[in-house]
């Protein structure tokens, strides 16, 4: 357990507003910076910034399942895929639905869901799927859970590939309206960060970490570990579903290959390099890996060195596992960050 987790009894009664004010100020600052940046950035730069935001949201939401609760799930891309497909199918222009999506029921074919509704329903679908799957699969532990959730990716991919009438199979859905912009992505990132951060320092967060450290001991002190795990799994999946839906409306294409095992691997790398359970670490790792991947793209395409950035990611992971297995930040957050958001903790 991290040293940074405060002892609830030792809390001095402080102004509860101070932390919230600082958070609001920080968010306002971030948005202002973004507004400034968005007027300077090229279209490519804006898309890249949006991608960075989405990847941060993904890594942090995976931190909830894998880092805090200690379940080794590789299933995130499966939930992204569910969110992306549901949102894309619902939000598809009606004119194209009739010609391209023959398997759709009448009612859906004649209705183009507004963007927000489509994304929300995508998130709900991902959450429901995670709940149903989690009820069964979360009984597995360690690397058996990892392989079962890996299987989940293959299963969802198989469905997307073969359910021609609704997903258009291997060619995927193209021409999805581009409704996502940097603001949606940044907003989602901030929301995910705030939710996961608050969760981590709540009683539910402590129950999660207790489950991670020692499931038996956690049960003995009254933590309902099965439920805690399920909650973490479903919450992570809902966030992944939203990211998937936003990403579909950012890149405007979804194919069964969009979200695969490579993505699952990269997400796990972000969590492991950042430190299992550390939000700060996940953010830094997500930003670094996304930027590195994009930065190496010209080199890969220019010199035909495909696979270079993926090799660097894997190599970085091996080195971290070998020499600093707890990752950059371990399970904690840097002290100054905690003091910043929770001034009542420091005297």
């Amino acid at each position: 357990m991290s040293k940074n987790v405060p002892d609830a009894l030792a809390l001095p009664q402080a102004r509860p507003l101070a932390g919230g004010l600082r958070l609001a100020a920080l968010v306002a600052l971030l948005l202002a910076a973004l507004w400034l940046a968005s007027s300077v950035l090229s279209a490519y730069g804006a898309t890249l910034a949006a991608l960075v935001c989405l990847n941060v949201a993904l890594a942090v939401s995976l931190q909830l399942t894998n880092g805090l609760t200690g379940m080794f799930s590789l299933g995130h891309p499966a939930f992204m895929m569910i969110g992306a497909y549901v949102a894309a199918v619902l939000g598809y222009p009606v004119a194209r639905k009739s010609t391209m999506l023959s398997g759709l029921p009448e009612a859906l074919a004649a209705w183009q869901a507004p963007f927000v509704v489509a994304v929300a329903l995508g998130a709900v679908a991902a959450g429901v799927a995670a709940w149903l799957i989690g009820l069964v699969v979360l009984r597995l532990k360690g690397h058996y859970l990892a392989v079962a959730t890996l299987g989940l990716i293959v299963i969802v991919q198989g469905l997307a590939l073969n359910w021609q009438g609704i997903t258009r199979g291997g060619s995927g859905l193209s021409g999805i309206p581009r409704k996502t912009d940097i603001w949606w992505c940044a907003g989602l990132m901030i929301a995910v960060l705030v939710i996961v951060w608050r969760l981590k320092f709540s009683s539910l967060g402590r129950a999660m970490m207790a489950t991670r450290e020692d499931q038996l001991a956690a049960e003995c002190i009254g933590v309902r570990t099965a439920r805690v795990k399920l909650v973490a799994f479903v919450l992570g999946a809902v966030m992944a579903g939203i990211v998937g839906a936003l990403m579909a409306h950012l890149i405007t294409v979804v194919t069964p290959r969009s979200y695969g095992i490579t993505l699952a691997f990269n997400l796990v790398v972000m969590v492991v390099i950042g430190g299992t359970g550390s939000i700060t670490g996940a953010v830094i790792a997500a930003v670094a890996i996304t930027l590195m991947g994009e930065g190496l793209k010209p080199l890969e395409e220019g010199m035909g060195l495909y696979g270079l950035s993926q090799m660097m990611v894997a190599l970085a992971l091996v080195l971290v596992l070998r020499f600093r297995p707890q990752g950059l930040f371990g399970s904690g957050e840097p002290g100054w960050l905690i003091r910043f958001f929770r001034p009542e903790l420091s005297r």
Partner: protein, 296 residues
């Protein structure tokens, strides 16, 4: 109908032989270091590409087969010595992530060196002839795969159950610490297990290439996962279990495609992974194992 069924059984046997060969190596490695080795499938790919290079260099086929074994063994032993040995004693999940990383490294390294293009891989003409017996026909390649798998498995079982090295392996897999205290050179034994398991994967790569006619740098993912599933079916860590699991999975896959209406055929992988999850949940010790280790 029964003829059709027999035909499918022969096809299943050939595919199952490949799965069994790969799964046995997978299982040996798991048995001895409790590591789900995701890079195992990529050793299959290394074996396939090394064989292709040797064929193009004019090496005779019998030599290619021998060398595929050697190259596979070398690849596996390199991975063990370079990555897994320094991490011995880390948690299971850490080890698992490391094998994923090694797999990604090998795949992308191959992509970098060889490009993602598919290459055709052809056995000589006499291997592609079909022989038929009582209306059931099989290509010489299938026959060779089935026979070679039986021979290699027999050799492996002999080594594991009838030699000093095999005894050391079984002792190490039973209890690493105790084996070390009894004077078993544990690291060398583990290295040997990696070598033997990966040798089988290497030659499976050669045969995989010959059977399907095409190879590419990412081809290892499918056999690696299937081998793992075969192990789960039979009980992870047991050699006999992997053997049976491999043959069963091959049969099940071929029958699934062969007996159901064609529109379901493309759900093959979905079916296989559903099977995996069901077995993990219902009978985590595998169909043939009595020993239960905590998995769920």
């Amino acid at each position: 109908m029964s003829q059709y069924l027999f035909q499918q059984l022969v096809n299943g046997l050939s595919l199952g032989s490949l799965y069994a060969l790969i799964a046995i190596g997978f299982s040996m490695i798991y048995g001895i270091v409790r590591l789900i080795n995701f890079a195992h499938g990529d050793v299959v790919m290394v074996g396939a590409f090394a064989s292709l290079a040797m064929v193009q260099a004019g090496v005779p086929w019998s030599m290619v087969a021998m060398l595929a074994l050697v190259i596979g063994a070398a690849a596996g032993m390199t991975i063990e010595a370079a990555v897994f040995r320094p991490m011995r004693g880390a948690s299971q999940v850490t080890g698992f992530i490391a094998t994923l990383a090694v797999s990604v490294l090998i795949q992308n390294g191959a992509l970098l060196l060889l490009s993602g293009q598919q290459r055709t891989f052809q056995f000589p003409a006499f291997m592609r002839q079909r022989v038929s017996l009582g209306g059931v026909s099989a290509s010489m390649t299938d026959v060779a795969i089935i026979v070679l798998a039986v021979v290699l498995i027999a050799v492996l079982l002999f080594v594991v159950y009838r030699t000093r090295l095999g005894t050391a392996m079984r002792a190490t897999s039973e209890n690493l610490l105790a084996a070390r205290l009894m004077g078993v050179p544990v690291n060398r034994t583990i290295l040997a297990a990696f070598g033997m398991g990966s040798a089988l994967a290497g030659i499976a790569g050669l045969m995989w290439g010959g059977k399907f006619g095409q190879i590419d740098p990412l081809m290892g993912a499918a056999p690696g996962l299937k081998a793992f599933i075969a192990c789960v079916i039979g009980g992870v860590g047991s050699i006999g279990g992997a053997l049976l699991g491999g043959y069963l999975l091959g049969m099940a896959e071929v029958l699934f495609v062969g007996l159901l209406p064609p529109e379901y055929a493309s759900y093959r992988d979905t079916f296989v992974f559903l099977l995996l999850i069901v077995i993990l949940l219902v009978k985590p010790s595998g169909l043939f194992m009595r020993h239960v280790e905590e998995r769920a």
